[in-house]
Symmetry: C2
Subunit: 439 residues, 2 copies
């Protein structure tokens, strides 16, 4: 697999380009929109993530010789189409929600304008990124809101594909997690990494004490010792004996966590290790974290549940043609009429209506006007514009990509969360916390 993203594409995108080049419609200027028809069942809000990764991959979307040869060999498209693909670069415009923004059913998360051929080509790539990354961010945000300020580390790499693990770490960080176990996420996205030892390190040694001594020797007493390989009470006692009362933290990865955490806290305090923290990491999700609110826990490590979207591993976004020019140059709004999959055609802009306390009350989707002009509602203090210009003539705005984009998204999410009504943070099932209205 090369560095090119060009084949992260469903075959039908190329066959559509092939046919549309033949009859000339490939060049009709078109507007595609990515949105979610609904939130995952029972969720109150979603968090957009993946935008920065998406912009980067779109900029690098090229058909090199290796990709063209594969397409030729398998007769995917005609030779004339191969020539067109060889020159392919996305040269259009992309607007969308700021990464880290909250979203609701129908929110126009990303709109992509270009010729039909250049914009339809990005369908699978755009959706793969938005669906996966937003699924993780939406789950992670719920965990962050019930952690009540205690730090959470993402450590679920082993429970998702090795490369989606990197994207998952990025999404969790944007949603407010503090660190990740994944080293590639540290390198690629500048996310703080953490981790000390597994049970295998203790089992490798002849005794638990020997393992703790080796770890403290290498990492200093401020490290985190995993105390539940054998008996937790003995483990804690040994940990403090080896590291002293300066021991940074103990980690508990099994058992009934509220009970165990309370017992370990008492024991640490009795041993004088009053500043030693307690980290818990056993099969946590938002409900387990909420149940630990009153337990003496200092930090959480979350794995499976966050990288798999806590029950909703795909955010359900779709990518639809909503408008295109005819041969007369006029824009025509379009939408399919299938009974159970309705779409709203037309160019969109969006704003969130806030009340006098700056609390979100309504998601407003303006149909017909895009975000490319002056926002007619810009002067209205109660309407916060939601769409930003992510890419112009095929070049991404650097504010939204790379490490800077990740930090900006994380900060944006933090601001947005303060705007949501308090009911948004109830874990129980319910409807979207604000309604979406079309204007």
């Amino acid at each position: 697999m090369t560095g090119s993203a060009a084949l992260f594409t469903d075959r039908y995108e190329l066959t559509m380009v092939d046919a549309a080049l033949l009859d000339g419609t490939a060049h009709r200027e078109s507007l595609f929109e990515a949105f979610a028809r609904r939130l995952p069942d029972g969720r109150r809000y979603g968090i957009v993530a993946g935008t920065g990764r998406m912009l980067d991959l779109i900029e690098r979307f090229r058909f090199e010789d290796a990709e063209l040869e594969f397409l030729r060999e398998h007769g995917v498209v005609r030779d004339e189409t191969l020539d067109w693909l060889a020159d392919y670069r996305f040269t259009g415009e992309i607007w969308g929600y700021h990464e880290g923004e909250a979203y609701f059913p129908g929110s126009p998360l990303v709109t992509i304008q270009g010729s039909f051929a250049e914009a339809v080509m990005l369908e699978t790539l755009v959706l793969s990124i938005l669906n996966f990354d937003s699924s993780v961010a939406s789950a992670a945000a719920r965990m962050v809101s019930v952690a009540l300020g205690r730090p959470i580390a993402e450590m679920g790499s082993r429970r998702t594909n090795e490369r989606s693990a990197v994207a998952a770490a990025r999404s969790a960080y944007i949603a407010g997690f503090d660190a990740t176990s994944n080293l590639e996420a540290g390198r690629t996205w500048g996310i703080p990494t953490m981790g000390t030892a597994a049970h295998s390190f203790t089992l490798l040694h002849d005794t638990e004490e020997a393992a703790f001594r080796a770890q403290v020797e290498a990492m200093g007493p401020g490290t985190t010792l995993l105390v539940d390989t054998y008996d937790i009470r003995t483990g804690v006692e040994t940990a403090v004996r080896v590291a002293g009362t300066e021991l940074g933290a103990v980690r508990i990865d099994s058992g009934d966590l509220p009970t165990v955490a309370a017992a370990v806290r008492r024991q640490l305090d009795e041993l004088g290790a009053v500043r030693t923290r307690i980290t818990v990491t056993s099969d946590l999700d938002e409900h387990a974290i909420a149940a630990l609110a009153s337990a003496p826990v200092d930090a959480y490590g979350v794995g499976t549940s966050v990288v798999t979207g806590s029950g909703f591993p795909a955010a359900g976004m779709v990518y639809k043609l909503v408008a295109r020019r005819g041969d007369d140059g006029e824009w025509v709004d379009v939408a399919k009429a299938s009974t159970n999959k309705l779409s709203v055609g037309g160019r969109k802009n969006a704003a969130r209506r806030l009340d006098s306390t700056r609390t979100a009350r309504e998601e407003l989707v303006f149909v017909g006007d895009g975000p490319e002009g002056e926002d007619e509602f810009a002067a209205d203090d109660q309407l916060r514009p939601l769409m930003v210009h992510l890419m112009h003539e095929g070049r991404a705005d650097a504010a939204y990509t790379g490490h800077a984009g990740v930090e900006a998204a994380r900060a944006h999410r933090d601001e947005v969360m303060q705007e949501l009504p308090i009911e948004a943070f109830r874990l129980g099932r319910g409807d979207a916390v604000i309604p979406t209205s079309y204007r």
Copy 2:
């Protein structure tokens, strides 16, 4: 992100290596095992997938300058450890279940033997691959078994991370799917690709008829026309008028599928298009496919449910140290004693007991003897050995990697499925279809 897999690793693996190099235990020969404590809730069996990808990435697991520089800059390990990492290659032995094999709770799916340092390093990579790929294969196998021989195409790339989409297509193919929409899976793994057009292609054109004409012009009348953009009955009529009765297939992506498929079949037959096939693709999972058994459907396209493991997006496998040598050179079986996460220590071998009708009756796990010697049970016709030698001295057996590995896994799964008791194929929730016994 480079081509190196070295940072698809949790930080704690490197800190363990760092500490174990300091006290000399890093060089203790060790045996790690990947297994699942249980099947996903209610499932009767699982299908192992990812093995071929895993072997490939382990062979290429190297710390190049870029990775070492990141680790140095962030103080992840000591300088002496960086030197050791620079020379890292896995030089050990790997045995495991054949890719495509069925598995049950406790089945020793992969065992990795090498020094502690070289084997612990692979923990996250091995689990990421096995957990994701097996999750998809296990879901896909259930869909294949209820499709009753009708072909199924995987088209869920857009509902999972762009790179896990490639792995998902591979897993679904191993589990018996016939094709994928994902072009990179075609290139990397030799899987047949398919796809013709989306609703956007119809909406791009001034009329549905113009869209169908363009597609038939480019791809011939044997193509598949998507008939539900507007009114299905009109769509079918237009499709046959444009392509003639030689039309290859129509695709339906919405509506109540059993009813719609029956109506479309009647209409096609009345129009003389008696050989035109019907493909359905709307939110299918194993239950929806089962419900279409008596409908006149010729082929299925499955998206979200297969790439997200149909409710179980991670297979729940863990990677545990089960034995290691002491300083006296003797092997010691090890296992942690945490209350709710029991493991069985020791080297393992495994066989499936078949009855006289060659039906599987029991998963036998032999503790203490590994698969590296003569299988003591090889002469017993009722015991089918399950473990194969996947990698020797750091080199993968080519039979299990690349395109050949994929085809071998697919063929193996097909054989194995014929061995499972009929109850394995009930969709309803139940226990593992055969018990696991330790000997």
